[in-house]
């Protein structure tokens, strides 16, 4: 008998597949899921993937992700696939796509940037892909961020 890793199906909610290996915990943080959260969550990490070698998967019962959360996920897991589930069926399936410009999701690592001052300002970044990586560039000071997950608010 073939031995398989099984995670139970969810009745209603979101399945995030093809998350870059090791980023599932960060995805949960982005979704606001942590100690004390009520949602039923299952997660697997470092499972083999034909597409990206190794991947993580997150399933959240009773939660449909919003656009802001989607944008954040796209920053750290640009290959992720989102499945919206209703009555155990996939109602909608799509790939995340990093937006060209994001606001208020990252902070600029340049401490001397105006976006880190006490001015009324929302950090804003241009997003682009270099190779397989998501890169952010501060709209104000031009600082480039290669490890975006470290600077997510």
């Amino acid at each position: 008998m073939k031995r398989e890793l099984v995670i139970s199906k969810i009745r209603e909610g979101t399945v995030i597949d093809h998350i870059s290996a090791g980023k599932a915990l960060l995805v949960l943080r982005i979704l606001g899921i942590g100690a004390g959260s009520k949602e039923r969550v299952s997660m697997v990490m470092n499972v083999p993937s034909k597409k990206i070698g190794k991947k993580d998967i997150v399933k959240v019962e009773g939660k449909f992700i919003n656009k802001d959360e989607l944008n954040k996920i796209a920053l750290i897991a640009p290959n992720a696939t989102i499945n919206l589930i209703k009555d155990y069926e996939i109602k909608k399936k799509f790939k995340v796509k990093p937006p060209e410009i994001i606001e208020g999701i990252l902070t600029c690592p340049n401490r001397n940037c105006i976006s880190n001052s006490n001015e009324p300002i929302k950090p804003r970044f241009h997003i682009f892909i270099e190779g397989n990586r998501v890169i952010a560039r501060c709209y104000y000071c031009g600082k480039k961020i290669k490890d975006v997950d470290k600077f997510i608010v």
Binding site: N112, S115, C138, Y140, C141, G142
Partner: protein, 300 residues
């Protein structure tokens, strides 16, 4: 409508825009010298908002505006303004942009000029934002190079503080548009950041001055800026680590020009001032016609 509403970064300009400004500046030289009169900016007011010290940039903007018939108001002492009472830069700019037709700003935080442009009703010109951009300096540097040497096929060495110098960062970006061969000469700790280099597509290499002095058309020297060092000990380690003398220039090409954004401390010996190579005082003057061209572009 001109080619640009604000001038925040040299990256916002195409090669064509740059050449256009340099050509326009050429037309303003006689007015900048005071040989001809003009009232082309009569009735226009410029606000100089300088949150960091400046002599040349502030005064050359003022000269440019006044020689074209315009007027200038200054906010130099931060203590005298509402900023000292805790008003945000955004509010300050919202108010001042109701008084004037153009704002020139120098501020210690990077990205400040772009932020100010978002809150201003009138054009904003960046006169230096921290270690970020200083586009009007870049344009006057390019003007000097074109006037006193040549822009196409140029071989230039940039020497000094390549890490913190906004002047150098902006100039390198612009020079790559003109396919210049660029040599970088600096103390180890003040090298151009790798992150900056990896984004540039140009003919750029690090070098020693002795190896290239006989080959270059322009030697661009910068001051080590004490105020940009996060740690004074780091500054002390490199202060005074290079100096251009008339002796060093004996091996240079006949038509080599030496440039410096000024102020200098001791990077260029006064003996160089008397050589035909010294062009830094002319360079400072060219700030006036170049800024005239920029002001006309955003105001008319």
């Amino acid at each position: 409508m001109g080619r640009f509403r604000h001038l925040i970064s040299i990256d916002d300009l195409s090669k064509d825009d740059i050449i256009y400004i340099l050509d326009r500046a050429e037309e303003f030289e006689d007015i900048a010298f005071g040989k001809k009169k003009s009232n082309i900016l009569e009735g226009k007011i410029l606000a100089n908002l300088f949150f960091e010290p400046s002599t040349r940039t502030r005064m050359s903007f003022e000269t440019a505006m006044k020689r074209l018939g315009g007027d200038v108001i200054n906010m130099t002492a931060q203590e005298a303004s509402s900023i000292a009472k805790g008003e945000t830069l955004a509010d300050t700019v919202r108010v001042i942009s109701k008084y004037v037709d153009v704002i020139v700003i120098r501020h210690p935080l990077e990205g400040s000029a772009r932020f100010v442009a978002e809150h201003s009703d009138v054009p904003v010109i960046n006169a230096g934002d921290g270690a970020g951009q200083h586009p009007t300096q870049t344009l006057l540097d390019l003007y000097t190079i074109r006037k006193e040497s040549r822009l196409e096929g140029l071989k230039i060495a940039l020497m000094g503080d390549l890490k913190y110098s906004r002047t150098v960062h902006s100039l390198i970006k612009a020079l790559t548009l003109f396919n210049a061969k660029i040599y970088l000469i600096s103390p180890e700790s003040l090298r151009l950041p790798d992150e900056f280099l990896e984004d540039l597509k140009g003919d750029i290499e690090t070098a020693n001055l002795n190896d290239v002095i006989g080959d270059i058309d322009v030697l661009y020297v910068t001051r080590i800026q004490k105020e940009r060092f996060p740690d004074e000990e780091e500054y002390k380690k490199v202060a005074g680590s290079y100096k251009i003398t008339a002796d060093i220039l004996k091996n240079a090409k006949e038509d080599l020009i030496v440039m410096h954004p000024l102020p200098r401390v001791d990077e260029i010996d006064v003996s160089v001032d008397r050589t035909k190579h010294a062009k830094y005082f002319e360079q400072a003057f060219y700030g006036v016609p170049v800024r005239m061209a920029i002001l006309c572009e955003v105001l008319l």
